[in-house]
Amino acid sequence: MNHGKTRIILLFLALPLTLYAVLVVSPYAQAFQISLTSWSGFTADKPFVGFDNFQRLLQDPEFWRALAHNGLLLVVVPLVTIALGLFFAAMLNVGGSGGKVAGVRGSAFYSRVYFLPHILPVVITAVLWQFIYNPQIGLLNGGLEAIGLGGLAHSWLGDPTVALWALIGVLVWAGVGFYVVLFSAAMQSIPKDIFEAAELDGAGRFQTLTRITLPLLRETVQVAWIYLGIHALDAFALFMVLAPSGGPDNSTMVLSQYLYLSAFQKGNFGYATAIGVLLSLLSLLMTALTFGTSRKKTTIEF
């Protein structure tokens, strides 16, 4: 009954596809259409201007600056977060000394501490760090002075040379807990005898990490990389609370924030949507690159 089968398939696919088209594809198409207009955001009609917005963007130094900041985030945030995540996860699961495969002492406690920042909503994280970075009464400067490093005290969010790094620090702080848990789960699924065999062969902790654990976690790390990359391309809420006007001398302006300011502060929705279209193209490009470059691989089974 081939005929009947096709009908079923069509019936079952038509609906989700329609839904997908209406709720997912059409907003994207609409966004692209708006990016070709000079819509102010308040009128029913949207004057068509072709690719003007995109041409303007390419000549807009602030756009390039924001893009460069996103580029830096894209490299630094995943790198640091994954490195820290892997290190902490390894310490929690296979880092213990004493002849058996286990975490360091107190690992249950640490795993909770690491995860804590992740359950805080972003806005609360941001407000929390506003107090930590406060140059007058902040915890960070106070702490530095207390341990005799007062010379390192900064006006963290007010100094263009450190502001972006201060924000990157918060991104990593808030993100690392989740990846500790993710990597922990992946590490626990690696059979213990592999680690035991390595130890019998005389491998140290560092060797076990680089030769055994990391290669077996490849796919998880790759997924983490994509998540973090998208996170770094966005970074909106945190930046909006901690540096609402783009930071000192625009030193922390990112694309998503530039988009927001263009739309809601400058009343220029067409231009803002053009930024949005570029941003989504960049996200797609990044995902494609990440998957593309790591296509060849030998799956290790255990």
Partner: protein, 473 residues
């Protein structure tokens, strides 16, 4: 052959999903229809009488949307009661919200805006954009109408001078700024009295005072570098205006070539820059937001804070007893300037607008006329300790506030010497550049010359950009 399993719930689910799928585009169509409905909203019309100069229909509903921010929205409820007394048959609906733009934008797009909007707060709509799009009613007939208290005086005559400037576009008044704010330095009278310091009348006197304050172990000035460095742009403009007259500011607003390079502006920028190079700012100000900076000020870590007269209300909760907040007018660079020492930077804010496509435009204007009555104005000042644009509404009464008392005195002393600059609200691009560059100047990252040349470059770029609607004053 029936290929679907005869399960009711699954079929019901499919059916309801299909309904959703159909409803989404339908909603879009509805919005599109509403959007094209045009300007038919003003139809409801009553008889024009002396008491009803706009001819409001007796039973036409009035839809008021108020920003519920620092002044809350109780004063608006009071004004709505006054309106309802006049038109008992009209249904007055009130909403006090914080996200003006977010909530109202869809209504503007759909052609169904409220009758009166208090366009204020962080999410306010860009006024210039609304004007350029023809979304707002011209309020000239409101200004020519008799005032609510005296039929022989027009509404315009009851307003403080310059009050309408922020809502005037090419000579047309497109909104009503309701709250009158003057900007200057704020200090604790108690603190100054304790050290025997007095408010200076010259800029040299102010820098000498700053030196004394610093010697006493207090930071002379503070500012909120991350969110509101532009609060400290006001004294710069005040110095320039007092030195060279209001035309200096008008040239800047009108995007004239070399307006930023004028001598008075240069002198003013250098004076402000010297505060930074003398180390007179609270350490770390560039990394504080304005709330943190204001907090440091009421805690006594900094002696002087430049802000608008809304600051008393803003800091009410944490100002210590006996602080005795007082306003000090920005002292001029020299005694021989174009404006007297008493001249004030004054801006009227909380801009009320009547959307052109509102259903009850006449009612909207009548509501604004009601707000400008003495009764409404006094009630506003009493509850918020802020002044309205209504001239002398509260007389000498300070409602127990040293801050309000000092502001009233300063306004009386200034007389008609009130000035304001409008380019940040006219040109959003210029406003963002100003924020960045004044922050650089205050933090000592740039000097006066660089600041002025960057502002001039951006002003020239805006002037040359044909896609930006230009305004003149």
């Amino acid at each position: 052959m029936n290929t679907l399993p005869p399960s009711f719930s699954r079929r019901a689910l499919l059916r309801s999903t299909a309904a959703v799928a159909l409803a989404v585009p339908a909603a879009g169509l509805l919005a599109a229809c509403a959007g094209s409905s045009g300007d038919s909203g003003t139809a409801a019309e009553g008889k024009v009488t002396a008491a009803n100069p706009f001819g409001v229909a007796e039973d036409a509903a009035l839809d008021v949307v108020v920003f519920k921010g620092g002044y809350s929205d109780d004063y608006a409820k009071f004004d709505e009661k006054l309106y309802a007394k006049k038109f008992p048959k009209a249904k007055v609906s009130h909403s006090g919200i914080t996200e003006i733009g977010t909530e109202l934008q869809p209504r503007f797009v759909a052609g169904d805006p409220p009758d009166v909007v208090d366009n204020s707060g962080a999410k306010k709509m860009v006024l210039g954009t609304l004007v350029a799009d023809g979304q707002l009613a011209n309020l000239s007939d409101l200004l020519k109408a008799p005032s609510a208290d005296d039929p022989d005086t027009t509404v315009e005559d009851t307003l403080l001078s310059g009050a309408l400037d922020p809502a005037t576009f090419d000579g047309k008044v497109m909104g009503l700024p309701y709250v009158f704010t003057v900007s200057g330095f704020w200090y604790s009278k108690t603190l100054l009295d304790k050290h025997g310091w007095t408010w200076p009348t010259t800029w040299d006197g102010l820098t000498a005072l700053a030196a004394k304050i610093k010697k006493a172990g207090i930071a002379p000035f503070a500012y909120g570098g991350t969110t509101a460095p532009d609060y400290f742009f006001s004294p710069l403009m005040a110095l320039a205006a007092k030195q060279g007259g209001v035309d200096v500011i008008k040239a800047i607003d009108n995007l004239e070539a070399k307006a930023w390079q004028a001598e008075p502006v240069k002198a003013a920028a250098e004076a402000i820059a010297s505060l930074a190079s003398s180390g007179y700012f609270l350490k770390g100000s560039e990394g504080l937001d304005h709330t943190q900076a204001q907090t440091a000020w009421v805690q006594g870590k900094a002696a002087l804070y430049h802000s608008g007269s809304f600051i008393e209300n803003e800091m009410k909760a944490i100002t210590p007893d006996g602080f005795d907040m007082v306003f000090g007018t920005v002292p001029p660079l020299s005694k021989t300037g174009s404006l007297p020492q008493t001249a004030l930077h004054a801006v009227a804010g909380e801009i009320y607008v009547v959307p052109a496509k509102a259903k009850n435009v006449r009612g909207g204007k009548e509501y604004l006329r009601t707000m400008l009555s003495k009764e409404a104005a006094v009630n506003f000042t009493k509850t918020t300790h802020a002044l309205t644009v209504v001239k002398g509404a509260t007389g000498e009464e300070d409602f127990g506030s040293t801050a309000l008392g000092s502001v009233t005195k300063a306004i009386d002393a200034a007389g008609d010497d009130l000035f304001s600059y409008l380019f940040p609200s006219w040109y959003a691009d210029l406003a963002t550049t100003l924020k960045t560059e004044i922050a650089n100047l205050l933090a000592g990252r740039t000097d006066a010359a660089v600041f002025l040349s960057k502002m001039q470059a951006k002003a020239d770029a805006v002037a040359a950009d044909s896609s930006i609607t230009k305004f003149k004053r």
